[in-house]
């Protein structure tokens, strides 16, 4: 009987393993989509008239405030469907997912092969992993065929940046390409002590300022490390000013943007000097004792009069925002320039899933978002007259009956996710020339990272990567927040990294990078 029990169980398991294969006629995490996009593209191009294209329903999933429960969602969708039927003989259905669930849902949608054709898929939702494993489609041929509008609108860096192994899998939203780093300080104290915010070119130069504040302003932490949208200052130290900016690539790997060499990050002059400086400042009381551990919102601390500074990314308009949140005028010490790194360009991407029913039509729809402001703004702002009113200067204001932009019936807040943000409407709460300023920012302040568009295949050194990754994630916070003696910590981390095979990783990276350079 026991033997029979076991074999019964085995049979049950076997059935269960096979069953999903029978479900829906498709195997899991897979939808054997149509043939390779290139073939698809050709056959569509051969079709003489748009009407010859069969009607198709496409679903577009992306995060949005209030998910799909905007009051006028159905109205707006009807308008969109009408538009896409006329232009593309397709019905593009928006599937907005509440912000609170999008991060979990979109990856599951992609992994399970759910009936979704277009998805918002930035690198922080797994873009690279899905590109590698074929969950999202390569787009180069499709874009060449159907996405000329996209290609001509997007700046070069937004097209090159998200490439994986030389192939593009995600279409970036046309917005600010990258962001700078900066140190925001309360203007009152800056003026009081006569500091010149434009004079800071190296981190060390801040020290006399910190000392002044510490000595003269009791109860105010000169440099507060808290929570809430913080970033790297990104200026060199005095010792490292000639070294060239080094990117922290994780796992202890550093990439020198000037020499284009991969180096051990924690052995660079910058790392050695900067972390020791931070630890020194912590000992002197310039940095709060619980840096790295506290749950205190940085801006709130400033507002409460207990802190002087915060580190943050800096986009146009950031000063005003921080001034409001900190309850007083803030001023800015500019930090690292707006490096256009791969991750900066992958912050907002749209991809086609493996389950996509009609890649060509999908690209055509996306193309329209970049070239036709009508559909772009229909998706972002809803219907004129119902959800907004157009003003004379082109900006939009609240419709009658709405008190805030939260109850105008349709405000998903998605202008940063897809399409051409530069053609989207500006509300009367912002400046009319907001997009001009942004374009200017994009054109003048971007500094491309040397490895923009390069991707690393870590298979050869996977074990070493894992080991170094683990080591790095054990000390990074300690060093950044001065939680322990920097000299010792650096010595320890460097030794452990070398023992774990960091050099092998660096060599492999350099090799792949040089090969990529040669081909470029």
């Amino acid at each position: 009987m026991k033997k029979l029990s076991v074999s019964l169980l085995a049979m049950l398991c076997a059935i269960c393993l096979a069953l999903p294969g029978c479900a829906s006629g498709k195997a899991p995490v897979n939808a054997p989509a149509s043939q390779a996009p290139a073939v698809q593209g050709e056959s569509s191009a051969a079709a003489p008239v748009a009407d010859a294209k069969p009607f198709v329903t496409l679903r577009f999933a992306f995060p949005a405030g209030n998910g799909g429960e905007q009051r006028d969602q159905a109205l707006v969708q009807a308008a969109i469907s009408a538009y896409t039927k006329e232009r593309l003989n397709a019905d593009v259905i928006l599937n907005p997912l509440d912000w609170s669930v999008a991060g979990e849902r979109i990856p599951l949608m992609v992994q399970s092969g759910e009936d979704v054709d277009i998805v918002f898929m930035p690198d922080w939702m797994g873009y690279y992993g899905y590109a590698k494993s074929g969950a999202i489609l390569p787009l180069d041929d499709l874009l060449a065929e159907y996405g000329q509008g996209i290609l001509s609108t997007l700046p070069e860096s937004l097209i090159e940046g998200p490439k994986y192994n030389g192939v593009l899998y995600g279409i970036a939203c046309n917005k600010d390409i990258s962001f700078t780093g900066g140190l925001f300080l309360t203007k009152a104290l800056v003026d009081k002590h006569g500091f010149d915010v434009n004079s800071i070119k190296q981190v060390n130069q801040l020290e006399p300022w910190l000392k002044t504040i510490k000595d003269n302003e009791p109860g105010i932490t000169p440099m507060f490390f808290g929570t809430g949208n913080l970033d790297w200052l990104g200026l060199p130290t005095e010792e490292s000013k000639d070294e060239g900016y080094v990117f922290d690539k994780g796992a202890g790997v550093g990439f020198n943007n000037v020499t284009e060499k991969f180096v051990p990050y924690y052995e660079t002059v910058f790392a050695q000097s900067y972390f020791k400086l931070i630890y020194d400042w912590k000992q002197k009381g310039y940095i709060n004792e619980d840096a790295g551990l506290n749950q205190t919102d940085n801006a709130a601390e400033i507002k409460a009069g207990r802190a002087w500074t915060l580190h943050s990314s800096s986009q146009p308009g950031q000063i005003e925002t921080w001034s409001i949140l900190a309850g007083q005028p803030m001023t800015l010490v500019k930090g690292r320039p707006a490096y256009v790194t791969n991750s900066a360009t992958c912050g907002a991407l749209v991809a086609l899933t493996n389950a996509n029913k009609d890649p060509a039509r999908s690209i055509e729809f996306l193309n329209l978002l970049y070239t036709d402001p009508y559909i772009e703004n229909l998706c972002l702002w809803g219907i004129e007259g119902t959800n907004y009113i157009k003003e004379a200067d082109g900006r939009i204001s609240l419709p009658p009956g709405a008190e805030t932009w939260n109850d105008n019936g349709y405000n998903p807040g998605t202008s940063w996710e897809y399409g051409n943000q530069l053609t989207s409407y500006v509300t009367t709460e912002s400046e009319a020339d907001q997009w001009e300023k942004l374009e200017q920012f994009n054109k003048t302040e971007m500094v491309p990272a040397a490895d923009l568009g390069w991707s690393f295949d870590g298979t050869a050194v996977q074990d070493e990567l894992d080991a170094c990754n683990a080591i790095n994630s054990e000390y990074s916070s300690i060093l950044k927040n001065g939680m322990d003696d920097a000299e010792q910590t650096l010595a320890t981390i460097n030794k452990r990294l070398h023992d774990a095979g960091l050099d092998k990783i660096l060599a492999e990276m350099q090799k792949q990078y040089d090969e990529w350079l040669a081909v470029k």
Binding site: P28, N30, G129, Q462, D463, S476, S477
Partner: protein, 315 residues
């Protein structure tokens, strides 16, 4: 045994136990849907997932996705921490839960009993993030209640709680028991409620003291449920309470030598720079590793129990 005969016997058994088998149908269905159908996911641990071919046809890569769990010098530490804490939690937690149930049962005043019972289960309902805030309110090195209101008053210098791993050997279990002891005692309360009072009456007639009653009646009657709980807990020996070791510790790196467990390690490994690693497969591998070890432990424990107390064995 001849397969035909076995099949006949099977059918006969099914027929004669029809109604009981029918009773099992609902849960059977639910379990098949919730556990067995998705079970195919475990093969992801052995594959290099390619969505174009689907899970079933993706290439096999053997144990490659498991390597990151063992390939570095942290493997020992995370295992030691996980197992150490699990053992402590299981053993001490059990003692605490049973003691609470027994002691509660001795309280005569009904309203006091109800009040205590309700209050001690409260911590279980706080989400782990809230618990981390509460712990922080106490252990904040600068403004925390412990440093400021207790130690300072006693003239002792404040301790940097989140920087000293040795303290967490005690802090983590304390937080764990605080959260779970109350609710764990409920099941033992139910167990005691089911004990025949005549047993106690007989013991008292024999002149048994309270302590003797507990030792000879209550505990032995609770033994089966204690055994089940123990065996089950062993199944989770190399799992840990992620929230406790990641959020309550504020993920302070200075504490890792004590608080880094397999689960927090896996989380770190999977969320940092990918370089194209297959995180879905690796997560599946970690889960499978923990499942296999847990299953082995349960089987071992069950085997041992079968020799001692065959009635209580799971199978």
């Amino acid at each position: 045994m001849c397969p035909l005969k076995a099949l006949q016997r099977l059918l006969k058994n099914i027929k004669s136990n029809k109604s009981m088998l029918l009773m099992m149908l609902p849960v059977f269905t639910f379990v098949v849907i919730n556990s067995y159908l998705p079970m195919f996911g475990v093969i992801m641990a052995f594959k290099n997932i390619d969505y174009r071919s689907g899970i079933l046809r993706s290439p096999w890569v053997g144990l490659r996705n498991f390597r990151y769990l063992f390939s570095n010098d942290l493997a020992f530490r995370i295992t030691r921490n996980t197992v150490g804490f699990s053992l402590a939690f299981i053993a001490i937690g059990m003692v605490l839960a049973v003691s609470i149930a027994i002691l509660l049962n001795e309280i005569r005043a009904k309203s006091a009993k109800k009040i205590y019972q309700t209050i001690i289960i409260l911590p279980n309902f706080l989400s782990i993030v809230v618990v981390s805030y509460v712990v922080y309110a106490f252990l904040d090195p600068v403004n925390g209640l412990v440093n400021k209101s207790i130690l300072e008053k006693l003239g002792i210098k404040g301790i940097s709680w989140y920087s000293k791993p040795e303290y967490w050997i005690a802090i983590a279990p304390i937080v764990n028991f605080w959260m779970s002891a109350g609710i764990s005692s409920i099941i033992y309360l139910a167990g005691i409620a089911g004990i025949d009072p005549e047993l106690y009456e007989a013991a008292i007639v024999d002149g048994a003291s309270k302590r003797r009653q507990i030792w000879s009646i209550t505990l032995p009657m609770l033994k089966p449920i204690i055994i089940i709980s123990l065996i089950m807990s062993l199944g989770g020996l190399i799992r840990s309470n992620f929230g406790l070791f990641y959020q309550v510790t504020l993920n302070s790196q200075l504490l890792y030598s004590v608080t880094d467990t397999i689960d927090t390690y896996v989380y770190r490994a999977l969320t940092v720079a990918g370089y194209g690693t297959d995180n879905v497969a690796r997560a599946a591998a970690a889960g499978l590793y923990q499942s296999v070890v847990g299953a082995a432990l349960v089987a071992l424990a069950n085997f041992a129990i079968r020799k001692i107390e065959p009635e209580s064995a799971l199978f």
